[in-house]
Symmetry: C2
Subunit: 352 residues, 2 copies
């Protein structure tokens, strides 16, 4: 399932725990001067002299966050790393190191884990991040990936969720809803494959949304542009659960309200088309879909001209208000409806 | 199983992901000045100005690292945190923050997770560590706990595995083999309970080894004494896999050999008695048993007098040699046998 059957298969116990760690981590050169000691001691040693250290963890569980029937292991490794980097960019920081905890059953071969690590390695290369430690152990069921990312930012650069002020502009990078459409396409093809295993999956023409789902990127470029243009957002969060949920986080943490214009939500034409094919209102895919890993942020109105210079990558979708607890969606025909979070709730049994 | 049946049971989906995180993390005050921002943003923010940042991760998987039939959840939370702190002490540092990744199935109630977090909270109190972030998600099978610990040490204080020199004294804190004997007692009583569910477990008289297994402590006190006595070990590691495996790690990383005196290995009388009852050579429980979380370290011979001042807590068990690759065990009757690691290998199917 997770590999070509003709390929070599090496069982995990042929290497043992330390052999496996050596095998998986051998091709991870240290790229950051701050990574003083990587894999191979009780703890990694990092020098963030002059900077704040940022830390975030994500746990990915097979069958909950990914489905091995349609997730290539290399993509999975890449995505697991990148979604963590996204948390550091959302603080206006730079990811510098990761430690990886891996729980894996005997169902996986060494070659399969090599694929997973090839994806993690590519993400580390693309984002200039060092793998500096980890813990690899067995699991009685599926694959569990825990990635903790360490990042850094100058004290004065750190952006929290809590700094939005009334009248600040609410902005978002890129476009939204694509990752969720990609998931729906993959789920549909899986259902058809299970019903008829001889059928070939129909994935042509869906490249954009599939890439958004399977190989998302974190918005390193946006944070770099903030520095170039000397913009410091007043608050920021990355979009993992869906736009509505993230807007409500910013409002709650900042003690403000907001007016969000549904018609301003940026969406790719292919996302809109596929949503319609699934009979989903396209904006709902953006508001509730999740996993887009774009940056949602607020800036003072006086930064409007600078934000215009980022117009290719950033859209103003609303503004913050002094009405704490009141967050509203303004529809294209000027109806005002309360904004509600309907992001993923992994614990809700009714969704299973 | 994990709780009293008369107790209130709240299902996880009654709270939802964010409600659950709020519930579990509400009673974690921040104790360290370096913890600038804890739970509630995309990443925690830490100020380790003037210090090196140390990072380590451990992943604990139900059925592999713990057995819910005999592990109280509060103890499990305590141990999961403490074994991570131990990795930071093994670098001669001080743990300051943790982030907790939790994968949990619907089999667990909110009250059960409260118990787990009560253990994590107690460990944080006892070791003056802040919980600053986490990720809570569901799991299709058992409980998965991923703890990443962040610590700090002055640049000149960090002790690696790689600094041991020929003629350095090899020392260990506390006593060894107890945690493994505790595990054997628990496994025996579980087997008897499964054979006859009406039987009461016979755990009287085994308090010491059971506590070593279920509620280990990290040797914060030893690292504090090093500072008081102005001792800097040349190399150090904590004993998680068994003495033999850890000695070989120090030898390999430092490029030295060693002579380890079997008769010098410190063991509690109850460990020795129980080992004999199980027909196990007591020193083998220390060499291969694991999970004692004592500190194994080397010091220059000129520190011998200072080490004598720690004689109540520290035992000299051998010395390092220039014979790279040659690590030997000297038996009480002066036989010399090669030291071999037979610690746990979670991937070895023959042990299942």
């Amino acid at each position: 399932m997770e590999e070509n059957k003709d390929m070599v298969r090496t069982e995990l116990d042929e290497l043992g725990e330390f052999g496996l760690i050596d095998q998986l981590t051998q091709e991870f050169p240290l790229r950051n001067a701050s990574s003083l000691k990587g894999v191979g001691d009780d703890a990694a040693v990092i020098n963030h002299e002059g900077y704040r250290t940022l830390v975030s963890v994500d746990l990915l569980v097979e069958g909950i966050h990914f489905d091995m029937t349609y997730t290539p292991l290399k993509h999975l490794g890449y995505k697991a790393a990148v979604v963590n980097f996204s948390d550091i960019y959302a603080m206006n920081g730079t990811p510098t190191q990761i430690v990886v905890g891996l729980g894996v059953s005997n169902r996986y071969s060494v070659e399969a884990l090599d694929e997973l690590y090839a994806g993690i390695r590519l993400a580390c290369e693309n984002y200039h991040v060092d793998l500096v430690g980890g813990d690899t152990t067995s699991s009685q069921s599926g694959l569990v990936i825990s990635i903790t990312v360490i990042g850094m930012a100058k004290e004065e650069d750190v952006v929290y969720r809590s700094g939005a002020k009334p009248n600040d502009l609410l902005c978002v990078s890129g476009d939204l809803g694509g990752a969720y459409m990609g998931l729906l396409i993959l789920e549909r093809e899986k259902a058809e494959y299970l019903a008829n295993p001889n059928m070939q999956p129909q994935l042509q023409g869906f490249d954009y949304v599939l890439e958004r789902q399977l190989k998302p990127e974190a918005r390193k470029d946006i944070v770099a542009r903030f520095k170039e243009l000397d913009i410091k957002p007043t608050s920021m969060i990355d979009i993992s659960d869906g736009l509505a949920s993230e807007v409500l986080h910013l409002c709650k943490e900042s003690g403000v309200g907001c007016q969000l214009y549904e018609g301003k939500i940026p969406q790719d034409p292919s996302t809109v088309k596929i949503a319609k094919d699934f009979q989903i209102v396209p904006s709902v895919a953006a508001l509730s879909g999740g996993e887009d890993y774009e940056l949602l942020f607020t800036v003072d109105q006086k930064e409007y001209e600078k934000i215009q210079k980022m117009a290719e990558d950033v859209t103003v979708i609303g503004y913050m208000t002094a009405d704490k607890g009141i967050s509203e969606l303004i529809t294209p025909d000027n109806h005002v409806i309360p904004l509600k979070a309907q992001g993923w709730n992994h614990f809700d049994r009714s969704q299973k």
